[in-house]
Amino acid sequence: MKPKILISSLTGCSGCISTLLSLDIFPQFLERTKIIYFPFIMDVEEIEECDIALIEGCVSEDSQVNLLKKIRKQTKKVYSIGTCAGFGGILSLSKKRIAEPVSKYIEIDGVIPGCPPPSKLLGNCLIKLIENREIDVDIPKKNLCATCPLRGEAEENFQTKITQINPNPEEIIPVEEDTECFLKRGILCLGPITRDGCEHVCIKEGLPCEGCMGPVSKSFFSNTINFISLIHLSKKIRNYDGIFYRFSKPTFKR
């Protein structure tokens, strides 16, 4: 029996869906499953019983909570795809809109993180899911620094004052062997509090991490506080909104 799949979008940009549809393995995924609900590409409107639900986007409306509850009831396993569904996402920057992760309202079986999830990661996870294997991306053991190409000598005490959140355009240089860690250069990088899995694409292009893969642990709030206490942020940066919670909403309690 092919697993029955439901794919639903909440509030977001459809970037996770467009990534899914362009995966190398998407034709194989279609072949090996039976998609029963996916409004982006088909006309079905009713939610029926299914094996796996993939949810994209954050929760920002009451009607979405009802939809989620219905999905949970009808589905064996529910996964959040992308940083919006996983951790709140970019709308966490909003002071007017609610942007909550799916897990705030229903129990989920895992998160496939990223804004959007890297193709390789998403593809591997989907294959595992249709083969009824566990995906382990939900338990991030490492932060981005653990495997960072700029890691050099591990250091925990950063003496340099952090004065920039973006390197000046003329200073952006692709990574070479002796390139120094951003934090040592006075540029804020969220690698220490961001989970591994993006293959350091931004860092390799000479750009610091902004945290789009989501937090490394569930206690993102305390993790962030710890991180801030280890670095010296300039006043200007301290007063600037939306650096640490650009992709993940802080949670105080779970």
């Binding site: 509030t11 459809s14 996770c16 549809l21 088909m42 959140i165 000046n168 003329e170």
Partner: protein
């Protein structure tokens, strides 16, 4: 007054159709395409650093991400009074081509093609992608490949396939290696070969048919970009065109003469009479030439009745992919594409207002940022293709719904009018920015 609501399917994002009946349920007074869940990016972006804007703005849409970031960069460059290097412009154009291939292909294959088969009585029961795959295996293989290649092209030139990182105010931070230029060339060549097959197939399936009258666009004003009459989605100027009249220039900085918005209210206010159409079909009417001989030949196969029919947009989408891929291959041969040029520094703000325009896959994007005395952004207005098309969509679906109500029931009508909406390829994520 009775209101019938239905959720739109096979469109990007969440949209609804609403049909309003008079008190006696004898007549349909209005049908509307409605988008909800506005996210408020225009508020979020206030007082953000200029360099952060393109990165946040790209998150408005996972399909038009490159166009959104590039429009944002152009706006910021306008504020600083700088022009990016030619190398940067080439890379931006290549990135926009990848985005166009992916976006148009996704729409054509999953959303539009099943409708076309139904409208022209070729296949009635295409209810899921499984049915297309079964009935059209060759087209399926081709479109899966086109979607994948569009994605790969964006990964090469944007650093990531969705939400690019290479595009920054002042230029791009990417210089393609010889290896990547060769790879991109191979991809584009493959796209051209595939598109030739698709275009021929489209002509074979539909060109001899007469497009239904309900899909005719009633005298719109076409708005689109052209570069001295030639198709160009990055460096052209905007023009307006009414039926059989000469093109008039749309002066970007005077956009409020035509439309404006209050960011606390949803949608755009128009101050010109006729409905505006933006997007592939509008571009087709605005440009004098695509500058490629084959394209004129492809177009000449269709009877003139197609030219003002919204269903023709589907064919124009295929042609646009062909044209841009053809041009992308020329761009890749330009020695400037990997010339080392240092990035412009962003030091002196020259203008307190910045405006930037690009043609996204679905039509124009116009960004306007205003700075206060402290050089901090205090007002942002984003004008987005789908929002501009909404009055025309509503006009067309109202007419169609009223006509249908004479002979059929409301449940059929709510499904039928979605055929028109889908032909426009609305991008609801963008429109609910």
């Amino acid at each position: 007054m009775l209101k019938i609501v239905d959720v739109c399917t096979r469109v990007e994002g969440h949209g609804k159709v609403k049909i309003y009946l008079d008190n006696k349920n004898e007549e349909i007074t209005q049908a509307t395409f409605e988008i909800e869940a506005y996210r408020g990016f225009e508020h979020i972006l206030k007082h953000k650093k200029l360099c952060d804007l393109p990165k946040i703005i790209s998150r408005i849409c996972g399909l038009c991400h490159a166009s959104q970031s590039i429009a944002s960069c152009k706006t910021i460059e306008n504020i600083y009074g700088i022009e990016p290097s030619e190398q940067s412009i080439l890379v931006r154009k290549l990135l926009m081509t990848g985005e166009l291939i992916k976006s148009h292909s996704l729409h054509f294959f999953f959303q539009a093609f099943p409708d076309l088969l139904r409208i022209f009585n070729i296949h009635q029961k295409i209810l899921s992608p499984y049915a297309i795959i079964k009935n059209y295996p060759q087209l399926t293989t081709i479109f899966f490949e086109l979607i994948k290649i569009g994605n790969e092209i964006d990964k090469i030139f944007g650093g990531r396939s969705v939400h690019p990182i290479t595009v920054i105010p002042g230029g791009v931070i990417y210089n393609p290696s010889k290896k990547n230029i060769t790879l991109a060339r191979k991809y584009f060549q493959k796209v051209l070969m595939n598109l030739e097959v698709v275009i021929e197939r489209f002509i074979e399936l539909f060109s001899k048919k007469i497009p239904p009258e309900e899909f005719m666009i009633p005298n719109p004003i076409f708005l689109g970009m052209h570069n001295h009459g030639i198709f160009d989605r990055y460096s052209g100027i905007l023009g307006f065109k009414e039926d059989n009249k000469k093109i008039t220039n749309f002066i970007e900085k005077n956009y409020t003469n035509y439309f404006n918005k209050d960011i606390d209210l949803n949608g755009i206010d128009f101050s010109i009479g006729n409905n505006i159409l933006v997007g592939p079909l509008a571009r087709n009417h605005i440009v004098e030439s695509y500058d490629i001989e084959e394209v004129s030949n492809f177009l000449s196969v269709f009877d003139k009745t197609w030219y003002k029919n919204i269903l023709f947009t589907n064919f124009i989408r295929l042609l646009e992919m062909y044209v841009e891929t053809f041009k992308a291959l020329e761009l890749l041969n330009d020695p400037l594409v990997n010339k080392n040029e240092s990035l412009l520094s962003l030091t002196n703000i020259k203008n307190m207002d910045g405006i930037g325009v690009v043609e996204a896959p679905r039509g124009i994007l116009l960004h306007h940022y205003h700075l206060n005395k402290e050089n901090s952004i205090d007002q942002i207005k984003l004008f987005i293709a789908t929002e501009i098309n909404i009055p025309l969509i509503n006009h067309m679906i109202t007419n169609y719904a009223q006509k249908l109500y004479e002979k059929t029931d409301i449940d059929t009508i709510k499904k039928e009018i979605q055929l028109i909406i889908r032909a426009f390829d609305p991008c609801i994520s963008c429109a609910t920015h």
